[in-house]
Subunit: 274 residues, 2 copies
């Protein structure tokens, strides 16, 4: 999917919501546990309920890997289901991979050749040759970690170099030499508020994937005020706030309500800041 196509979806749905499919078998409603693949059944119900209100899905690989082979099957089936039923959705494999060149090539092959997801999250620590193998696939995206939403992000990402440039700023600046805003996005946590201004000074046109609204306490309004650009430029993720909003048999209905609520807030933001 191209940047323009993604923006078209956002305008059409008046939403830049990404639903995080962080599906933990220990947290899904009991009645699904009798099915053959409870994680997949749960995901299908969540996807059917939320698809009208979002433009992207982001399964986090950790949650699938924790179930080993069975988890990988749930993951593959979930991706295939979205692609068949909702081909307009942007699928992000939240994998935070990154390794030496020949190894990153293998990861790229997995996610882009086999699974055909639209984007993969990648960690920047190992530098250019760990990221580039993901960039040889046209219309597939790398979403590079820049400034994450967690407390530990302070340990290294905010370290200033001799010229006062912080590490996340260097990641934003240097990585722009590797690909254009048609293939690269950045992770910037919603808990960052005004720091979005600093991010936008370096990457005015890129899309940002923004986790941390909801359970982690980030403000949607602040993210939009400081982070939105003329192509929207934001994919705001919510995981727990949608998929675990209700642990009863009505979970899908409640997920729909929560997704719709966010979509309505997003429509207002688009009217205000786009």
């Amino acid at each position: 999917m191209t940047k323009q196509q993604l923006f078209e979806q956002i305008k059409k749905k008046q939403s830049f919501l990404c639903v995080g499919l962080d599906t933990d078998i220990n947290k899904i409603p009991e009645h699904l546990l009798e099915t053959e693949d409870p994680v997949y059944e749960f995901n299908k119900a969540i996807i059917n309920a939320t698809a009208p209100y979002c433009v992207a899905y982001k399964p986090n690989l950790a949650f699938y890997e924790s179930e080993g082979v069975k988890g990988w099957m749930s993951f593959e089936k979930t991706v295939a289901y979205i692609q068949q039923r909702f081909p307009e959705q942007f699928i992000i494999a939240d994998a935070k991979r990154g390794d030496i060149g020949n190894t990153s090539e293998m990861y790229a092959r997995t996610f882009f050749d086999e699974m055909k997801v639209n984007a993969v999250t990648v960690a920047p620590y190992m530098g250019e040759d760990s990221v580039k193998p993901f960039l040889v696939y046209p219309e597939r995206w790398v979403i590079l970690l820049a400034l994450t939403s967690n407390k530990g992000s302070h340990d290294f990402q905010l370290t200033e170099d001799r010229n006062g440039e912080r590490l996340f700023e260097k990641v934003l600046r240097v990585s722009q030499q590797w690909a254009s805003d048609g293939q690269m996005m950045y992770v910037v946590g919603a808990t960052r508020g005004k720091l979005f201004e600093d991010v936008r000074k370096i990457v005015p046109d890129h899309f940002l994937l923004v986790p941390g609204v909801g359970a982690q306490g980030g403000s949607l309004e602040e993210v939009c005020r400081y982070g939105m650009n003329k192509s929207c430029g934001l994919l705001v993720n919510s995981s727990r706030g949608i998929i675990y909003a209700d642990s009863s048999e009505d979970f899908a209905y409640t997920a729909e309500q929560e997704a719709r609520k966010l979509q309505q807030e997003m429509r207002e933001m688009l009217e205000m800041y786009l």
Copy 2:
């Protein structure tokens, strides 16, 4: 496995070799492709041939994930095989994971609870709370990326802060507050030569996992001269130089020769520098 137990194995075998099981289905001998699980059959043969000469195995997850569900099965079977046949071997899941707390917990559960590997490689970019969930398992290890062997490591890892501290040095220094040298190791590439001296100034007692000897051009002698400590403190990895030394039906025999050759060099290094 404790640090002391690992050191005992090193002394017993006069080796600190780690064999990297980066098994690519496109590179394994043709005659194995007719078997039900060629990757597993290849690994078994390599393990049987090299076990006397090494103290650790390091399957890199990328190579297994690229085969999807089938690859995960090969990975799980390989780990189980080593644990049954060679329980004295230290198993490293080279996964380079790292995510926000609740997600890292899932990864930790996968590798330590389910697979029961001895160690996982973890990326430091997201900081303390992305690493700590791996540290609640006694006698299980985190191997944190510090100074990697690839060219791209120059992009960020060598960036100096205001006090002249380079990022990899900050990672070494700060992360020591998270765990002792009984649970933490660091990845330092063999291509670093004299930089091992700088590493040892900060982490004199820790074990280092050292990739990059062989195909990537690092010198074993230099690594030992500048990096060995009184508990050896080194696990030197070779992947391609051993497992793909020969693509004929004799691949396991050749792998054995290559592993033995490295073990003999390592014995000399232990005599010289320990």
